[in-house]
């Protein structure tokens, strides 16, 4: 059972960067007016950012990291570890983290590696970087988390394209003796790995010329095997049953209740799903921030993006107790709780 805690680290800052290019679901061609209205109300996504082809997730991470390092006044030579959590790599190989180490001007003594996770990635990433810093003597680390999810969504697929948005974030973590602990509970159900999948392009189904052939699966859903395929109903059921149960169990293990947390920040999956989870756990609406309407489902980046977008003024000046949960592709999910106390948090950057 992957329930554990880490000690002696604190979040020093969080920053986010999004593409400047904003698109609106009101302009989306494959839904009629009635469906658009319903989508925006029920699924909760009105606008989102769509990166041009020239702008990768690592470009967004780079911009956010430069800004955060400068505002923290960190010396780059002090940064011991860089982790890039994403499913939007620059290349099949090498690891994107290596490219970011060089581009950010971090020393060769920095350890850098990628973690290929999506919706649960922020919770996983925090658990990995905090475990490293709390047990090894490393002092400072950067956790770069985000995705350009729209690049693999077919514009002609109304079951996927309207949902997602592109965004990236960076969280700076440092060793601090006697800092409040982080608690985590992490889960996996690979039997449902086909629920969210890009079927071709990896080793199981190498890309061939046929991989580019688009097929109309049903009305308004046209895609190729190189596009993201979503089984929305199955993911929905997983999210409203398994996820709240895991969170309830986490709260029992940590002997906490809803009122112990200032905020519960969920992966921004879709509004109906997230509200179903919120109601089951009996969190008050004022405890649960959303960035979904402005930025869509931003995959691995959604939790830190929501913290920056919705809680920025508070986290800069207050001590807050947060519960977070990420869930989706894998299927993989996780829950974590921690204290965030007067951290550095620049405004969201918009990158062209």
């Amino acid at each position: 059972m992957a329930f554990f805690s880490t000690n002696n680290t604190r979040i020093a800052g969080i920053a986010a960067a999004v593409p400047k290019n904003e698109i609106s679901n009101w302009d989306y061609e494959y839904l009629n007016e009635q469906e658009k209205k319903m989508l925006i109300k029920t699924i909760g996504v009105e606008k989102k950012r769509f990166a041009p082809k020239s702008l990768t997730t690592s470009d967004l991470c780079y911009a956010a990291a430069e800004k955060l390092i400068a505002e923290l006044n960190w010396e780059k030579s002090d940064i011991d570890v860089l982790i890039f959590v994403s499913q939007s790599k620059d290349y099949f190989l090498p690891s994107t983290s290596c490219i970011l180490q060089d581009r950010l001007g971090l020393p060769k003594t920095n350890m850098a590696f990628d973690v290929g996770m999506g919706c649960s990635g922020y919770v996983y990433g925090l658990s990995i970087i905090n475990s490293l810093l709390s047990s090894t003597g490393l002092k400072k680390g950067l956790l770069l988390v985000g995705d350009n999810s729209l690049v693999t969504c077919n514009y002609k697929d109304k079951s996927a394209f309207p949902l997602f948005g592109d965004a990236a974030t960076v969280t700076a973590i440092e060793f601090e003796k006697d800092a409040s602990p982080f608690h985590y509970s992490l889960f996996t159900d690979g039997s449902r790995h086909k629920a969210i999948i890009v079927p071709h392009g990896g080793l199981r189904n190498l890309a061939t010329p046929d991989s580019f052939t688009e097929v109309e699966v049903s009305e308004g859903i046209t895609r190729s095997p190189l596009n993201t395929t979503l089984n929305g109903l199955d993911i929905f059921n997983f999210s409203i049953s398994e996820v709240p149960n895991s969170i309830k169990e986490f709260m029992e293990l940590t002997k906490s209740t809803t009122t112990d947390y200032d905020h519960f920040v969920m992966h921004q999956a879709n509004l109906l799903m997230n509200e179903s989870i919120r109601k089951k756990l009996k969190f008050d609406p004022s405890q649960v921030p959303y960035s979904l309407q402005k930025f869509g489902n931003t995959s691995s980046g959604s939790i830190p993006l929501t913290i920056v977008s919705e809680l920025r003024n508070k986290i800069k000046t207050e001590r807050l107790s947060l519960l977070i949960s990420g869930f989706g592709v894998g299927l993989s999910w996780g829950v974590a709780s921690f204290i965030i106390d007067n951290i550095v948090c620049p405004e969201i950057l918009e990158i062209e």
């Binding site: 009635q34 469906e35 319903m38 989508l39 029920t42 699924i43 079951s159 089984n231 929305g232 109903l233 199955d234 929905f236 059921n237 409203i240 049953s241 879709n270 109906l272 799903m273 179903s276 109601k279 089951k280």
Partner: protein, 77 residues
Amino acid sequence: MDINDLIEKLSTEFEMNVQEKLTPATSFRGMKEWSSMHALIIIALVDAEYEVTITGNDLVQMNTVQDLYDLIMSRKK
């Protein structure tokens, strides 16, 4: 609960106006505004109100409001 209770809740969630009334015989996919989002609303509603899980496959196989009601009753604890 009876089927009218289910119809009332579905109508509220679907935000249907009084002209287009749901009945036990209404076919979901026959509704002129039917979309996959209605399917999500049904799943969320049935889960929250009756603590019954409806899968994507169940929805493919069911047709009418009566079918949904029967399925809920057969699974309700």
